[in-house]
Subunit: 377 residues, 2 copies
Amino acid sequence: MDLIQSQTDFNENKKDPIQSVGQISHLALDIGGSLIKVVYLSRSSGNSADHEEETPDSSNGTLGVPNCDGKHPIFEGKIHFAKFETSNINDCLDFINSKKLHLGGFQHHDDLIKEKNFIKATGGGAYKFTDLFKEKLGISLDKEDEMDCLVTGANFLLKAFDREAYTYINSEKEFVQIDHNDLYPYLLVNIGSGVSMIKVDGDGKFERVSGTNVGGGTFWGLGRLLTKCKSFDELLELSHKGNNRVIDMLVGDIYGGTDYLKIGLTSTAIASSFGKAISDNKELEDYNPEDIARSLLRMISNNIGQISYLNALRFGLKRIFFGGFFIRGHAYTMDTISVAVNFWSKGEAKAMFLNHEGFLGALGAFVSYTKHNLDTT
Amino acid sequence: MDLIQSQTDFNENKKDPIQSVGQISHLALDIGGSLIKVVYLSRSSGNSADHEEETPDSSNGTLGVPNCDGKHPIFEGKIHFAKFETSNINDCLDFINSKKLHLGGFQHHDDLIKEKNFIKATGGGAYKFTDLFKEKLGISLDKEDEMDCLVTGANFLLKAFDREAYTYINSEKEFVQIDHNDLYPYLLVNIGSGVSMIKVDGDGKFERVSGTNVGGGTFWGLGRLLTKCKSFDELLELSHKGNNRVIDMLVGDIYGGTDYLKIGLTSTAIASSFGKAISDNKELEDYNPEDIARSLLRMISNNIGQISYLNALRFGLKRIFFGGFFIRGHAYTMDTISVAVNFWSKGEAKAMFLNHEGFLGALGAFVSYTKHNLDTT
């Protein structure tokens, strides 16, 4: 698997050498409640030229595509990744326009369809912003189902790349070799603003079995109100330095320092997230934002881990892949999710993470170009 | 079933006519992370004298005890209920002392035990405050297991009283007749500061199968920080007037007003609790405390309902009884939990509530007096 670091956000993207229009194709978008994820292909350089082992922030950058068993010859080249905040959608439109990415989409040969220029898009924003894309860029959004794209994107990554899925236990990242003949079934948990849980049985064979509205949007929304942080990454960074025991009510706080081992709870287990705020006689500003961010991250990660496990259990699934932009390769998030899955399943189920976690939907929309009879030049 | 309104908190309790020591017995305590629940028996008046159909706040008051199929003759009289905040434990000690409740406990006949005066107590505080009770009141706490007490209390209520369990659907309270021969198995969900989920198979036959640290302490702790409310009840009252759509990100907010019916989500379903705070460019003080309280209550109630359902499903349990002081007979809380259980189970499982929801543990400790060879005078 080949990963090459390049652009991370719009400003950095500007530094990236402009590709000529003919070299860029297959622009695909996943427009979520918080973030727009952008994926496109460039053919400007060969695959083998600038390989690197891994990027420090693999949520952005480029990905050299192997030939995928010859199935996807149109994907020869490099896949580029970028993201924007949905609330700053104009930055995304400017980015696409400045790089002429929208001209590398595809044209329908179907005469029944009047509009000629389409790009693949998924997520709720593909519906919400249809008119805006038409007006600003003169393109139509060819909508792909969100769950379909998440599954297609995850299957694509898991099959095409060796070093994509990994476990994260005790701060140790370990890549997992996926046997392509033994990939299904698995539970896919995509943590965006909200959380979707999808039982995947094969290519295009899946069911959204559950979800929770306590997701990345809750972490960032509540975190913003509680800490006055300016960005999601700043909130994650804060949580890194915090101590959840300051504000969480632990079993030991209730039991006077002792465990409640009869039901498997040690004195340091959290009995009630934010429960110490009940009796502390402190105001919000008396707490360190770091400690609040930590408690919040732990509460939400643990909750997602628990609900995921309970759904995996329903269907006898041993492997849970976590994706979505909430994770961002953040150590404490992954540790908490891994511990939750391990704790509740008594070691039976395993949490795994994906290097390109945030781009499942966008990659699914990208791959969906191959479903059509396309002009790929 | 006979319910008689009397004391609600310490100040009101003072107005209650003092019972003479000999008429009071079986003081039992459940000392949790947030609240101390107090139960005791008085024999000062007969059962039939002052019956009322129902109290507006059934979480406090007294309960006339029927003869329970002759099994518990020592419980003839009225059971009194009171509660105190654990952080104000001295109020509770003063209350017990002023009414001499601790002298109506029991004395062990076992010569091996040196200390003569015991009262039954459960919850973590029974461990944490052992020394305080000894020092201030000269009594020892005879500790009963917390889960054991919750189950014993629930079984006692469900068997002894006809109008105890009810469903709450579309704001309609409907009492459920429990067939004593068809009570088990059921899932007991006790929502205190944290949440315990217990599979109950019979008297003393149970297993704590799950729980969550997102409970009443989280609602009250986070709510206090976000709204500056002074009490749990004030926060509940606020939530009554709020609108969660102001701050929650709905499916329609992402999809431009349309549903995502393919996966069963209408445009008004919550995609991400507190998700609108991401992009609103508002500070905490720009939101109405009412709306924040509403979103928080809905997030936590829905989450508890979902995890409860998933655990009921694991074990094929159709009935879920919700107890604990979080609920307080609050309409929106019960509506949200009922809707969550109904939504996730597709109507298969049923949420039920208990009139004396907050006192399960204390009642269990109370009933545990009958396990011993007691001097009940």
